[in-house]
């Protein structure tokens, strides 16, 4: 009917650093705050905070790994995020087709 927006998911994914982190986790399969901060221009502490946000909305899963915590992307949740926008596009397609049909019926009636 209308846009179903999961605000938490979107604000989590809306941050460029968090997106870069997701990219790295996807490319590497998994990572820790240390391995991620080695490859990003932000501190390990900042990376940890971002990981908490991603974890809260279910975009990453955590497993203990020695003294660190190991993170992995939840691909189903990421797909869900992408599917929400695809749905919005499909919804507009349906509305535009209805606009087309109504306008053409009116035009035919006038001709």
């Amino acid at each position: 009917m209308t846009v179903a927006i999961d605000d938490g998911l979107w604000s989590a994914i809306g941050d460029p650093t968090r997106r870069r982190m997701l990219d790295l986790l996807l490319a590497d399969g998994a990572g820790t705050a240390t391995t991620l901060s080695d490859r990003l221009p932000v501190t390990r502490q900042a990376v940890s905070k971002h990981l908490v946000v991603l974890d809260r909305v279910g975009l990453v899963h955590v497993t203990p790994a020695g003294r660190e915590r190991r993170y992995r992307v939840d691909e189903a949740q990421l797909a869900r995020a992408a599917a929400q926008l695809a749905d919005v596009g499909a919804t507009w397609d349906a509305r535009l087709l209805r606009i087309k049909r109504i306008a053409e019926a009116i035009q035919r009636a006038q001709d």
């Binding site: 009917m1 979107w10 990421l78 992408a82 599917a83 926008l85 596009g89 109504i102 306008a103 053409e104």
Partner: protein
């Protein structure tokens, strides 16, 4: 291809005047927008409600503010600014219908933007990734593929 914007184009075998009327008048909006009741007046700055299921246990109401109304060329509005009193470029989505005369008919160009400002830009980026997983095609969906869906949607 701009990231974070939905763009669609459809040819309509009707004049721009008729297409504009269908897009902007409450009686037609109810027909093409899943029964939405609205008190919309197509005047820049006018606010209106879009209401579905009014009087039922679960009504759904969205606010809308008309941005531009130049018949029969442009009609645009902002919506989805939950919780805010006033729609602004950073808290809402901007829907624009452009009507371009084309042969005996009209090309209707729709854009819905504001995803980037609302933090949705990533959806498109991530969709490219998901494309490989699920076969999504966000930007070039075949309209025909949605006809079934259109028919089955009230």
């Amino acid at each position: 291809m701009e990231i974070g914007i939905i763009e669609r184009e459809i040819h309509v075998d009707a004049s721009p005047e008729i297409a504009y009327e269908v897009i902007s008048s409450p009686e037609h909006i109810r027909e093409w927008w899943n029964g939405a009741e609205t008190d919309l007046s197509p005047t820049p700055g006018a606010t209106a409600e879009l209401a579905w299921g009014r009087g039922t246990a679960e009504p759904h109401i969205e606010q809308l503010t008309v941005v531009d109304a130049k018949p029969p060329r442009v009609f645009s509005f902002r919506w989805v600014y939950e919780g805010a009193d006033v729609a602004t470029p950073t808290n809402s989505l901007l829907v624009t219908f452009e009507l371009i005369p084309s042969g005996a008919g009209t090309t209707v160009r729709l854009t819905e933007s504001g995803w980037r400002e609302k933090g949705w830009e990533a959806a498109v980026l991530e969709a490219a990734y998901t494309d490989h997983v699920n076969g999504w095609d966000i930007f070039m969906p075949s309209l025909g593929a949605y006809v079934t869906r259109l028919v089955s949607t009230p």
